[in-house]
Symmetry: D3
Subunit: 231 residues, 6 copies
């Protein structure tokens, strides 16, 4: 039976904003290479970036009624995460819904389907990550669920999880882990700053990371030319 | 037997230009959610927009000879709509053909195949919607048809139908319907203007569209928290 | 047994730079419509362009260790060409590796997998052509090969072959053919300049290329209207 | 406005049965390499074969209501050809609808979507060609059209056109052309019988089709070994 | 940190076997059109069928080490459900692992990746549903998780959920719902038996389901011929 | 300039037949997880199996002329390996060409495109591995190459390399390595026989392969239930 869960726990916006300064790639690495949505989820414009708490929506194929229901459940700092129950590229989301969400302080949308009104959304700077761009209209006939755990693009998103998106894609951070992931990101960035400087100066990763012995132990063979290989 | 139909009926450019001020999504909705090409048809540059009468071209796989034949059939305000008889991503269309079409006043190309010379076409502001970008050359050996009904990206396009493309994709409007669709777009935009203002002010779609009773009748259940669901 | 070939023959940078002024489409045509990588290899930002000598890397799925090994084999003017031994969209390449390659004068990367840190790479103007954008991290456990012939996106790339990429995609020119292809590009461009001017003036390709007789011989039929077809 | 066209012209069953003895590949060739549906349309079991008159159905995404409407319009010898207005893999068709169609003498279904109840349909020997196999249920909320021209898998199908399917796929023959295509198939088969016997005896196609001079004229070069190529 | 959960609650085998007599399509419908894996999950041989409790495995890309770990956690009547953390078609599963699972009474595998040894698995009648068939070998270097909630092919699978697969695909039934779904399947089958008999006798679904008034109310228009449409 | 290389070195048929008794998966593993064609190359019928020397053919898109040229270059025990220069699903190969090849003792075809006449080829037991099944006809207008190195489905195939295909796909073995790979397959099979027997008796891979210590060292954590994870 379709259900709307009205009260969900959210991460503190201060923690989300601390996380948001790191990019998707860093966050994904910092939490042990987990939580990344599949690569077909692309931003609708270059430079899109957002971070917020997930409000999840499970919708029937080619029916966007429940997104209207979800708007009421949103708070400032949320990101609406939407997946249909059967694969569809239809255009579930466009300018009017974005206007409504923006009025509530919602920061973006992640959508396993099609998005439309690309020009208007780009001008509004309302970021959407979607699997397709399509003007195909949808109906409003069948119910779905708001704020249940959602399977989307290969990940489980729980309501209140933190969602971060940028040009690299979208990553999900479990609500309980946000502070720890911020710390891990900070540590990673600090370490990378030194590595970056060393690499920029021409030092090799082979030496920085001490790879040479390990490569030798695995049996990597260096030859002067291709002719030497079979000799 | 391959054929070129030389005289086709076209919509009036005044009507097309009236239509062109509405986007693809609005037109698609205004004509009853019909006529949209499949979502894989994408503009080759951001902000591409065009509207015109369809000159249709059916071409053999990896052979672009008939596009040269079609140029002669074009008039100012046309859009050339091209599909191969067997799926191909080859680069049937590029700068030289665009130069020739632009010289005749053609406004754009819709191509169920690959497009090349992206940089030059973008600088020329000659819009193309295609399924791929590919420099792969084609031959000029086999005939096809110009100005017969064409199946492309899930739609039937008749010669003289009106084609509108923008960042959201491409929509086809039957020639006989153009005036009616312009009127429907106008009505829709006027209605949406009010809705947009209401949504921007924070009013909910649930209330604007009077969805609450219908949702209740369908059995939507609101719970305070996930724990209540199974209770 | 995994191997690194250390000495490869390269084309002269002067020849590469002469080639680089022509685009991918022209080069592909000028060498007889060969050498084009499949259309799924796309630049990570609009306007990406590069030409250089191929350093080839064969990597295990989801393991980017050998890219670090390949850096040491690179010289100014190289382009690193990378393919996994099993299809993968994981994010093998990002900002740190790009920093290291840029420090060695490498001009770009061609990658049959995922790329990450898109924003940073775009700001660095470090061009990458890849099949996907993905932040998915990779491991460093298994060896591969550097500078062996590589099958990538439907082409064979030999170490030292010349790689040219732009908005249209990527084309491979055999090292021994570079001078000849430059000459063929020059001839083609000169011929196209005249054709372009003629087309821009409104002259038809049908006449410029003398197609009319050939079309007639193949049996192309011109009719006034669709009604005449079955008569 | 959704419409059901009740009276359509059909080809004579005698002509259809004469056509049906030829396979899809022969028919496609005999009518000038036209009419073939795209390769993603696959039979749900090996050995599926059928030929009949098209009853066309245009359906909304994930809604199979109009198939029930179409049943009433079917006659013995028909094949129901179905495409959704927006791409969908949902399971629009299964055992119950097949039972109903079989009771009316319908010979098969062609479906640009998902089919389910594969085991039951295979046991019934009710052939279906579809783009997917999926148990995903559909709703019955939105109208569509029966017996209008339909764009499906890259072809236009008119009501009453002849549809032929086998292990190679599906081909459409315009109703008016059926007798001519039967004759062309017969001629082609007779010619192929001789060619097949010659080829089976070891004679080469190069000689049977007199290709050698044409190949020489196009410039094909025979070398003894790869070493001779650059000499 | 990678983890193996050793004790999970399972559904009773008697309930699973009661469920198993219904096909995937019926079960999916009976539980409200939920739980179906995406259509790319296909059985490796025709007629594959199995039902059991899910043991879930999250594996790194191209690394099948954790499947070996999962074997030890299996009991008779289980089905192992496996998804990589990054998309991969590599061949994670074949005859040796199937031999080991069969020895423990495991009934099948659901795999969001490639399967190999198809001939041997078919002869063993060990059913596998996978997204690809591939002999590509995998490594054993990186840890993953056993018996955590898993996102696979658009669904969330919890350890101990019931998995049912057949020629139509794979459906997941929450452990707590199994008895209720069996009852719903039974009711559905009984109802369908009557419908099937009525349809087989030639009665129309339009009448059986009383669709005519609803269609009329939605505005469906019946015309004698296409010519009447625009009149 | 298109070329036919007439004399190529082949592996001895005795060695090929020794190799053929091992399946694709074993051969791929035995030669270090190399040489496997991408997973989209599928046999046209279940149980297809063949091994032979590669005769390579590079063909233009939708043009199968060069396959006729290649027939003459074939010897008993060959397998013809064909790839178009631009992606195409057209039906390049069918019964007539198969009849001609079978008459020369050719054992099968590997085709990066479409195959047709599936029923006839299955009855002839002429195995083909292809990326698609399609009746789409091709032309005979443009030259290509026979017996040059070929990039196909992610691998380089040299003329005279050994090609092995079965239900799992297709693997390429360099001609010079055949004897060594046979020996490695034999060793692998002998080792696997023991492992298979142990696994069938219920012994765990964890113990047979001594994985437990390595897993522990990598940090795998065993918990009794999910509740223990965060404790």
């Amino acid at each position: 039976m379709p259900v709307v869960v009205q009260n969900i726990e959210r991460a503190a916006l201060a923690d989300i904003d601390a996380l948001a300064q790191y990019g998707v790639a860093t966050i994904h690495e910092a939490q042990g290479r987990t939580g990344l949505l599949a690569a077909h989820m692309r931003p609708i414009y270059t430079g899109a970036a957002a971070a917020g708490n997930a409000v999840t929506v499970s919708i029937p194929p080619a029916d966007n009624w429940m997104i209207h229901v979800a708007v009421e459940q949103c708070q400032p700092g949320d990101i609406v995460v939407i997946a249909p129950t059967s694969p569809s590229d239809a255009g579930y989301f466009g300018e009017l819904l974005a206007t409504s969400l923006a009025a509530r302080g919602v920061r973006g949308v992640v959508l396993e389907a099609g998005c439309r009104d690309i020009k208007a959304l780009s001008e509004m700077k309302f970021p959407v990550w979607s699997r397709a761009i399509s003007a195909q209209g949808t109906v409003k006939e069948t119910l779905g669920d708001v704020n249940l755990p959602l399977s989307i693009a290969g990940q489980i998103v729980n309501p209140g999880d933190v969602v971060v998106g940028d040009d690299d894609g979208v990553v999900i951070v479990p609500r309980a882990s946000v502070k720890a992931v911020v710390a891990a990101c900070k540590a990673r960035e600090e370490k990378e700053a030194g590595t970056r400087a060393a690499l920029a100066s021409g030092k090799l990763g082979l030496d920085i990371y001490s790879f040479r012995d390990k490569l030798k132990a695995k049996g990597l063979r260096y030859v002067g030319s291709a002719e030497e290989i079979s000799s």
